[in-house]
Symmetry: C2
Subunit: 222 residues, 2 copies
Protein backbone atom coordinates (compact mmCIF):
# COMPACT_ATOMS: atom_id res chain seq x y z
CA UNK A 1 0.00 0.00 0.00
CA UNK A 2 1.24 3.51 -0.61
CA UNK A 3 1.34 5.75 2.48
CA UNK A 4 1.85 9.52 2.24
CA UNK A 5 3.20 11.21 5.34
CA UNK A 6 2.23 14.86 5.12
CA UNK A 7 4.61 16.77 7.32
CA UNK A 8 6.82 13.75 6.85
CA UNK A 9 9.91 15.83 7.56
CA UNK A 10 8.82 16.41 11.17
CA UNK A 11 9.57 14.11 14.08
CA UNK A 12 6.51 11.85 14.18
CA UNK A 13 6.54 11.73 10.36
CA UNK A 14 10.16 10.62 10.42
CA UNK A 15 9.44 7.89 12.96
CA UNK A 16 6.49 6.45 11.05
CA UNK A 17 8.27 6.72 7.68
CA UNK A 18 11.35 4.89 8.93
CA UNK A 19 9.38 2.18 10.72
CA UNK A 20 7.09 1.44 7.79
CA UNK A 21 9.95 1.49 5.29
CA UNK A 22 12.06 -0.73 7.56
CA UNK A 23 9.50 -3.27 8.78
CA UNK A 24 7.04 -3.50 5.87
CA UNK A 25 6.84 -3.43 2.11
CA UNK A 26 4.54 -0.44 1.98
CA UNK A 27 5.63 2.34 -0.33
CA UNK A 28 6.34 5.37 1.85
CA UNK A 29 6.30 8.88 0.39
CA UNK A 30 6.84 12.18 2.15
CA UNK A 31 4.92 15.39 1.75
CA UNK A 32 5.91 18.86 2.88
CA UNK A 33 4.86 22.38 2.08
CA UNK A 34 8.42 22.65 0.73
CA UNK A 35 9.06 19.80 -1.75
CA UNK A 36 12.84 20.38 -1.64
CA UNK A 37 12.77 19.74 2.09
CA UNK A 38 10.70 16.60 1.52
CA UNK A 39 13.22 15.30 -1.03
CA UNK A 40 16.19 16.09 1.22
CA UNK A 41 14.56 14.26 4.15
CA UNK A 42 13.62 11.35 1.88
CA UNK A 43 17.30 11.04 0.93
CA UNK A 44 18.25 11.05 4.61
CA UNK A 45 15.78 8.28 5.38
CA UNK A 46 17.03 6.24 2.42
CA UNK A 47 20.61 6.56 3.70
CA UNK A 48 19.57 5.48 7.20
CA UNK A 49 17.62 2.51 5.83
CA UNK A 50 20.41 1.55 3.44
CA UNK A 51 22.91 1.54 6.32
CA UNK A 52 20.71 -1.19 7.81
CA UNK A 53 20.62 -3.21 4.61
CA UNK A 54 17.24 -1.98 3.53
CA UNK A 55 17.48 -0.49 0.05
CA UNK A 56 14.14 1.12 -0.55
CA UNK A 57 13.09 4.23 -2.40
CA UNK A 58 11.49 7.07 -0.41
CA UNK A 59 10.18 9.94 -2.52
CA UNK A 60 9.47 13.50 -1.45
CA UNK A 61 6.78 15.80 -2.84
CA UNK A 62 4.56 18.72 -1.98
CA UNK A 63 1.77 17.71 0.41
CA UNK A 64 -0.73 17.95 -2.47
CA UNK A 65 1.29 15.69 -4.77
CA UNK A 66 1.96 13.21 -1.97
CA UNK A 67 -1.73 13.05 -1.04
CA UNK A 68 -2.66 12.59 -4.69
CA UNK A 69 -0.35 9.57 -5.06
CA UNK A 70 -1.30 7.63 -1.93
CA UNK A 71 -4.27 5.74 -0.58
CA UNK A 72 -3.32 6.35 3.06
CA UNK A 73 -2.68 9.97 3.95
CA UNK A 74 -1.19 10.60 7.41
CA UNK A 75 -1.43 14.13 8.78
CA UNK A 76 1.90 14.18 10.60
CA UNK A 77 1.64 17.91 11.23
CA UNK A 78 1.19 19.90 14.46
CA UNK A 79 -2.41 20.03 15.70
CA UNK A 80 -2.85 23.71 14.81
CA UNK A 81 -1.99 22.88 11.18
CA UNK A 82 -4.23 19.87 10.64
CA UNK A 83 -7.30 21.76 9.41
CA UNK A 84 -5.22 23.89 6.98
CA UNK A 85 -3.41 20.82 5.76
CA UNK A 86 -6.65 18.92 5.08
CA UNK A 87 -7.96 21.92 3.19
CA UNK A 88 -4.78 22.22 1.13
CA UNK A 89 -4.95 18.59 -0.04
CA UNK A 90 -8.73 18.33 -0.36
CA UNK A 91 -8.66 18.17 -4.16
CA UNK A 92 -6.00 15.47 -4.06
CA UNK A 93 -8.12 13.07 -2.01
CA UNK A 94 -10.48 10.64 -3.66
CA UNK A 95 -13.02 8.13 -2.45
CA UNK A 96 -11.30 5.12 -0.98
CA UNK A 97 -8.49 7.19 0.50
CA UNK A 98 -8.11 7.19 4.26
CA UNK A 99 -6.98 10.19 6.32
CA UNK A 100 -5.01 9.31 9.45
CA UNK A 101 -4.44 11.79 12.27
CA UNK A 102 -1.85 11.23 15.03
CA UNK A 103 -1.93 14.77 16.51
CA UNK A 104 -3.06 15.62 20.03
CA UNK A 105 -3.71 19.11 21.38
CA UNK A 106 -1.21 19.66 24.17
CA UNK A 107 -0.65 22.84 26.15
CA UNK A 108 2.17 23.43 28.57
CA UNK A 109 1.88 25.57 31.66
CA UNK A 110 3.93 25.94 34.86
CA UNK A 111 2.47 22.74 36.31
CA UNK A 112 2.97 20.40 33.40
CA UNK A 113 1.49 19.33 30.11
CA UNK A 114 -2.26 19.29 29.66
CA UNK A 115 -4.73 18.10 27.09
CA UNK A 116 -6.06 21.10 25.26
CA UNK A 117 -8.53 19.96 22.62
CA UNK A 118 -9.84 22.20 19.84
CA UNK A 119 -13.45 23.32 20.12
CA UNK A 120 -14.50 20.30 18.01
CA UNK A 121 -13.72 18.19 21.10
CA UNK A 122 -10.62 16.42 19.78
CA UNK A 123 -8.13 16.82 16.96
CA UNK A 124 -9.53 13.65 15.38
CA UNK A 125 -13.02 15.18 15.32
CA UNK A 126 -11.60 18.40 13.88
CA UNK A 127 -10.07 16.39 11.02
CA UNK A 128 -13.30 14.45 10.53
CA UNK A 129 -15.22 17.72 10.27
CA UNK A 130 -12.71 19.09 7.72
CA UNK A 131 -12.39 15.92 5.60
CA UNK A 132 -14.16 15.74 2.23
CA UNK A 133 -17.23 13.50 1.98
CA UNK A 134 -16.37 9.88 1.31
CA UNK A 135 -12.91 10.10 2.87
CA UNK A 136 -12.97 8.37 6.27
CA UNK A 137 -10.80 9.63 9.12
CA UNK A 138 -8.91 7.42 11.55
CA UNK A 139 -7.17 8.62 14.72
CA UNK A 140 -4.05 6.57 15.51
CA UNK A 141 -0.36 6.78 16.49
CA UNK A 142 -1.02 9.54 19.06
CA UNK A 143 0.88 8.11 21.95
CA UNK A 144 4.18 7.16 20.37
CA UNK A 145 7.38 8.95 21.29
CA UNK A 146 8.78 10.24 18.00
CA UNK A 147 12.42 9.80 19.00
CA UNK A 148 11.92 6.19 20.01
CA UNK A 149 10.03 5.47 16.80
CA UNK A 150 12.78 7.02 14.67
CA UNK A 151 15.49 5.03 16.45
CA UNK A 152 15.29 1.71 14.64
CA UNK A 153 17.39 0.10 17.37
CA UNK A 154 14.76 0.95 19.98
CA UNK A 155 12.33 -1.81 20.88
CA UNK A 156 8.72 -0.74 21.06
CA UNK A 157 6.58 -3.28 22.95
CA UNK A 158 3.79 -0.73 23.19
CA UNK A 159 0.25 -0.14 22.00
CA UNK A 160 -1.39 2.40 19.75
CA UNK A 161 -5.08 3.16 20.09
CA UNK A 162 -7.21 3.46 16.97
CA UNK A 163 -10.50 5.36 16.74
CA UNK A 164 -12.73 5.70 13.68
CA UNK A 165 -16.37 5.65 12.68
CA UNK A 166 -15.66 3.69 9.47
CA UNK A 167 -14.86 0.06 10.26
CA UNK A 168 -13.07 -0.71 6.99
CA UNK A 169 -10.81 2.32 7.34
CA UNK A 170 -10.14 1.36 10.95
CA UNK A 171 -9.20 -2.20 9.96
CA UNK A 172 -6.81 -0.86 7.31
CA UNK A 173 -5.01 1.33 9.84
CA UNK A 174 -4.91 -1.45 12.46
CA UNK A 175 -3.21 -3.61 9.81
CA UNK A 176 -0.72 -0.84 8.93
CA UNK A 177 0.09 -0.27 12.61
CA UNK A 178 0.65 -3.93 13.30
CA UNK A 179 3.10 -4.12 10.42
CA UNK A 180 5.51 -2.23 12.67
CA UNK A 181 7.46 -4.66 14.89
CA UNK A 182 6.54 -4.34 18.54
CA UNK A 183 3.50 -2.16 17.97
CA UNK A 184 0.06 -3.52 18.84
CA UNK A 185 -3.04 -1.69 17.64
CA UNK A 186 -6.09 -1.64 19.91
CA UNK A 187 -9.56 -0.50 18.94
CA UNK A 188 -10.74 2.35 21.17
CA UNK A 189 -14.11 2.77 19.45
CA UNK A 190 -15.51 5.69 17.48
CA UNK A 191 -14.22 9.22 16.95
CA UNK A 192 -16.36 10.32 19.92
CA UNK A 193 -13.81 8.46 22.08
CA UNK A 194 -10.79 10.31 20.62
CA UNK A 195 -10.36 12.87 23.43
CA UNK A 196 -9.49 10.19 25.99
CA UNK A 197 -6.98 8.71 23.54
CA UNK A 198 -5.36 12.06 22.75
CA UNK A 199 -5.20 12.90 26.49
CA UNK A 200 -2.61 10.17 26.96
CA UNK A 201 -0.04 12.25 25.05
CA UNK A 202 0.42 14.98 27.71
CA UNK A 203 0.18 12.29 30.41
CA UNK A 204 3.17 10.44 28.92
CA UNK A 205 5.19 13.65 28.97
CA UNK A 206 4.25 14.34 32.61
CA UNK A 207 5.17 10.82 33.69
CA UNK A 208 8.51 11.01 31.86
CA UNK A 209 9.31 14.35 33.49
CA UNK A 210 8.63 13.14 37.02
CA UNK A 211 10.28 9.72 37.02
CA UNK A 212 13.98 9.11 36.68
CA UNK A 213 15.16 6.98 33.79
CA UNK A 214 11.80 7.18 32.05
CA UNK A 215 11.79 8.93 28.72
CA UNK A 216 10.24 8.49 25.30
CA UNK A 217 7.44 6.62 27.02
CA UNK A 218 4.71 4.55 25.48
CA UNK A 219 1.89 2.66 27.01
CA UNK A 220 0.77 -0.94 27.09
CA UNK A 221 -2.71 -2.06 28.08
CA UNK A 222 -2.71 -5.29 30.07
CA UNK B 1 0.48 2.20 59.04
CA UNK B 2 -3.27 2.26 59.52
CA UNK B 3 -5.31 2.80 56.37
CA UNK B 4 -9.03 3.63 56.44
CA UNK B 5 -10.99 2.82 53.31
CA UNK B 6 -14.09 5.00 53.38
CA UNK B 7 -16.63 3.34 51.14
CA UNK B 8 -14.58 0.26 51.80
CA UNK B 9 -17.57 -1.95 51.11
CA UNK B 10 -17.63 -0.89 47.44
CA UNK B 11 -15.65 -2.51 44.67
CA UNK B 12 -12.47 -0.43 44.58
CA UNK B 13 -12.47 -0.33 48.39
CA UNK B 14 -12.70 -4.11 48.49
CA UNK B 15 -9.81 -4.49 46.04
CA UNK B 16 -7.50 -2.15 47.93
CA UNK B 17 -8.47 -3.57 51.34
CA UNK B 18 -7.78 -7.15 50.26
CA UNK B 19 -4.51 -6.32 48.52
CA UNK B 20 -3.11 -4.29 51.42
CA UNK B 21 -4.22 -6.86 53.99
CA UNK B 22 -2.80 -9.70 51.89
CA UNK B 23 0.51 -8.24 50.70
CA UNK B 24 1.48 -5.88 53.55
CA UNK B 25 1.37 -5.51 57.31
CA UNK B 26 -0.63 -2.32 57.22
CA UNK B 27 -3.69 -2.27 59.45
CA UNK B 28 -6.71 -1.98 57.15
CA UNK B 29 -10.03 -0.66 58.46
CA UNK B 30 -13.26 -0.11 56.57
CA UNK B 31 -15.61 2.82 56.78
CA UNK B 32 -19.16 3.03 55.54
CA UNK B 33 -22.13 5.28 56.18
CA UNK B 34 -23.67 2.11 57.60
CA UNK B 35 -21.29 0.61 60.22
CA UNK B 36 -23.15 -2.73 60.20
CA UNK B 37 -22.39 -3.05 56.51
CA UNK B 38 -18.75 -2.17 57.14
CA UNK B 39 -18.50 -4.86 59.82
CA UNK B 40 -20.19 -7.47 57.63
CA UNK B 41 -17.82 -6.72 54.74
CA UNK B 42 -14.84 -6.73 57.08
CA UNK B 43 -15.84 -10.24 58.17
CA UNK B 44 -16.08 -11.30 54.52
CA UNK B 45 -12.61 -9.97 53.79
CA UNK B 46 -11.22 -11.72 56.88
CA UNK B 47 -12.71 -15.01 55.70
CA UNK B 48 -11.25 -14.57 52.22
CA UNK B 49 -7.82 -13.71 53.66
CA UNK B 50 -7.96 -16.55 56.17
CA UNK B 51 -8.73 -19.04 53.38
CA UNK B 52 -5.38 -17.97 51.93
CA UNK B 53 -3.52 -18.45 55.19
CA UNK B 54 -3.54 -14.82 56.12
CA UNK B 55 -5.12 -14.38 59.54
CA UNK B 56 -5.50 -10.65 59.97
CA UNK B 57 -8.10 -8.51 61.64
CA UNK B 58 -10.15 -6.12 59.48
CA UNK B 59 -12.45 -3.80 61.42
CA UNK B 60 -15.52 -1.96 60.19
CA UNK B 61 -16.78 1.41 61.42
CA UNK B 62 -18.72 4.46 60.36
CA UNK B 63 -16.72 6.62 57.94
CA UNK B 64 -16.16 9.18 60.73
CA UNK B 65 -14.81 6.62 63.16
CA UNK B 66 -12.63 4.98 60.51
CA UNK B 67 -11.17 8.36 59.47
CA UNK B 68 -10.54 9.22 63.11
CA UNK B 69 -8.53 6.03 63.67
CA UNK B 70 -6.29 6.12 60.60
CA UNK B 71 -3.44 8.20 59.25
CA UNK B 72 -4.24 7.35 55.62
CA UNK B 73 -7.84 7.96 54.59
CA UNK B 74 -8.83 6.63 51.16
CA UNK B 75 -12.02 8.02 49.63
CA UNK B 76 -13.17 4.84 47.90
CA UNK B 77 -16.56 6.35 47.11
CA UNK B 78 -18.18 7.33 43.79
CA UNK B 79 -17.00 10.71 42.44
CA UNK B 80 -20.32 12.41 43.16
CA UNK B 81 -19.95 11.46 46.85
CA UNK B 82 -16.36 12.55 47.45
CA UNK B 83 -17.10 16.14 48.51
CA UNK B 84 -19.89 15.04 50.91
CA UNK B 85 -17.68 12.32 52.31
CA UNK B 86 -14.79 14.72 52.97
CA UNK B 87 -17.21 17.08 54.69
CA UNK B 88 -18.66 14.28 56.83
CA UNK B 89 -15.23 13.24 58.15
CA UNK B 90 -13.69 16.70 58.36
CA UNK B 91 -13.68 16.75 62.19
CA UNK B 92 -12.06 13.31 62.27
CA UNK B 93 -9.01 14.40 60.26
CA UNK B 94 -5.97 15.83 61.94
CA UNK B 95 -2.70 17.31 60.76
CA UNK B 96 -0.43 14.58 59.47
CA UNK B 97 -3.31 12.60 57.99
CA UNK B 98 -3.34 12.08 54.23
CA UNK B 99 -6.47 11.97 52.09
CA UNK B 100 -6.23 9.68 49.06
CA UNK B 101 -8.67 9.88 46.15
CA UNK B 102 -8.97 7.16 43.50
CA UNK B 103 -12.21 8.38 41.87
CA UNK B 104 -12.52 9.60 38.27
CA UNK B 105 -15.52 11.35 36.78
CA UNK B 106 -16.83 9.09 34.04
CA UNK B 107 -19.93 9.60 31.94
CA UNK B 108 -21.41 7.08 29.58
CA UNK B 109 -23.23 7.95 26.37
CA UNK B 110 -24.18 6.02 23.24
CA UNK B 111 -20.63 6.19 21.87
CA UNK B 112 -18.71 5.05 24.91
CA UNK B 113 -17.29 6.21 28.20
CA UNK B 114 -15.96 9.72 28.53
CA UNK B 115 -14.05 11.73 31.07
CA UNK B 116 -16.45 14.09 32.73
CA UNK B 117 -14.61 16.12 35.35
CA UNK B 118 -16.33 18.23 37.99
CA UNK B 119 -16.12 22.01 37.56
CA UNK B 120 -12.99 22.03 39.77
CA UNK B 121 -11.18 20.42 36.79
CA UNK B 122 -10.65 16.97 38.28
CA UNK B 123 -11.98 14.89 41.15
CA UNK B 124 -8.58 15.17 42.82
CA UNK B 125 -8.79 18.97 42.71
CA UNK B 126 -12.34 18.81 44.06
CA UNK B 127 -11.08 16.81 47.05
CA UNK B 128 -8.14 19.18 47.52
CA UNK B 129 -10.57 22.12 47.59
CA UNK B 130 -12.78 20.34 50.16
CA UNK B 131 -9.99 19.05 52.41
CA UNK B 132 -9.31 20.80 55.72
CA UNK B 133 -6.15 22.92 55.98
CA UNK B 134 -3.08 20.89 56.83
CA UNK B 135 -4.43 17.64 55.36
CA UNK B 136 -2.69 16.96 52.05
CA UNK B 137 -4.54 15.23 49.21
CA UNK B 138 -3.06 12.58 46.93
CA UNK B 139 -4.70 11.25 43.76
CA UNK B 140 -3.83 7.59 43.15
CA UNK B 141 -5.29 4.17 42.27
CA UNK B 142 -7.57 5.63 39.57
CA UNK B 143 -6.79 3.22 36.81
CA UNK B 144 -7.10 -0.12 38.52
CA UNK B 145 -9.86 -2.54 37.61
CA UNK B 146 -11.65 -3.26 40.88
CA UNK B 147 -12.47 -6.88 40.02
CA UNK B 148 -8.87 -7.71 39.16
CA UNK B 149 -7.64 -6.05 42.33
CA UNK B 150 -10.12 -7.98 44.48
CA UNK B 151 -9.15 -11.30 42.87
CA UNK B 152 -6.01 -12.17 44.82
CA UNK B 153 -5.15 -14.82 42.22
CA UNK B 154 -4.95 -12.17 39.49
CA UNK B 155 -1.49 -10.89 38.66
CA UNK B 156 -1.24 -7.15 38.29
CA UNK B 157 1.94 -6.10 36.47
CA UNK B 158 0.51 -2.62 36.03
CA UNK B 159 1.16 0.96 37.09
CA UNK B 160 -0.72 3.47 39.17
CA UNK B 161 -0.12 7.18 38.69
CA UNK B 162 0.22 9.40 41.74
CA UNK B 163 -0.43 13.15 41.79
CA UNK B 164 -0.04 15.49 44.76
CA UNK B 165 1.23 18.93 45.65
CA UNK B 166 2.73 17.73 48.95
CA UNK B 167 5.88 15.68 48.35
CA UNK B 168 5.88 13.88 51.70
CA UNK B 169 2.26 12.79 51.30
CA UNK B 170 3.03 11.68 47.74
CA UNK B 171 6.01 9.61 48.92
CA UNK B 172 3.86 7.96 51.57
CA UNK B 173 1.25 6.91 49.02
CA UNK B 174 3.89 5.73 46.52
CA UNK B 175 5.25 3.52 49.29
CA UNK B 176 1.78 2.19 50.14
CA UNK B 177 1.06 1.46 46.48
CA UNK B 178 4.33 -0.36 45.94
CA UNK B 179 3.58 -2.60 48.91
CA UNK B 180 1.03 -4.29 46.64
CA UNK B 181 2.70 -7.05 44.60
CA UNK B 182 2.81 -6.23 40.91
CA UNK B 183 1.81 -2.62 41.29
CA UNK B 184 4.31 0.10 40.38
CA UNK B 185 3.64 3.70 41.41
CA UNK B 186 4.71 6.47 39.05
CA UNK B 187 4.82 10.16 39.87
CA UNK B 188 2.62 12.15 37.48
CA UNK B 189 3.35 15.52 39.09
CA UNK B 190 1.03 17.92 40.88
CA UNK B 191 -2.74 17.96 41.30
CA UNK B 192 -2.93 20.22 38.22
CA UNK B 193 -2.03 17.10 36.22
CA UNK B 194 -4.83 14.98 37.69
CA UNK B 195 -7.30 15.35 34.80
CA UNK B 196 -5.02 13.49 32.37
CA UNK B 197 -4.58 10.73 34.96
CA UNK B 198 -8.30 10.40 35.66
CA UNK B 199 -9.04 10.39 31.89
CA UNK B 200 -7.37 7.00 31.61
CA UNK B 201 -10.26 5.40 33.51
CA UNK B 202 -12.90 5.80 30.75
CA UNK B 203 -10.23 4.97 28.16
CA UNK B 204 -9.58 1.61 29.80
CA UNK B 205 -13.29 0.81 29.68
CA UNK B 206 -13.50 1.79 26.00
CA UNK B 207 -10.49 -0.35 25.09
CA UNK B 208 -11.87 -3.33 27.01
CA UNK B 209 -15.24 -2.99 25.26
CA UNK B 210 -13.77 -2.93 21.76
CA UNK B 211 -11.13 -5.66 21.96
CA UNK B 212 -11.85 -9.32 22.43
CA UNK B 213 -10.35 -11.03 25.44
CA UNK B 214 -9.41 -7.75 27.08
CA UNK B 215 -11.15 -7.00 30.34
CA UNK B 216 -10.29 -5.55 33.74
CA UNK B 217 -7.52 -3.65 32.00
CA UNK B 218 -4.69 -1.74 33.55
CA UNK B 219 -1.89 0.19 32.00
CA UNK B 220 1.88 -0.02 32.06
CA UNK B 221 4.17 2.81 31.03
CA UNK B 222 7.27 1.60 29.19
Amino acid sequence: MRIALLGGTGDIGEGLALRWAYHTNHDVILGSRDPEKARAKADEYETELSSRGRDVKVNGFTNEMAADRARIVVLAVPPYHVADTVESVEDSLSEGDVLVTPAAGVKRDDDGFHYHPPSAGSVTKLVADAAPDGVPVVGAFHNLAAGRLADLDAELGIDTLVVADDDDAKDTVVHLAEGIDGLRALDAGGIANAAEVESVTPLLINVARHNEKMHDLGVQFR
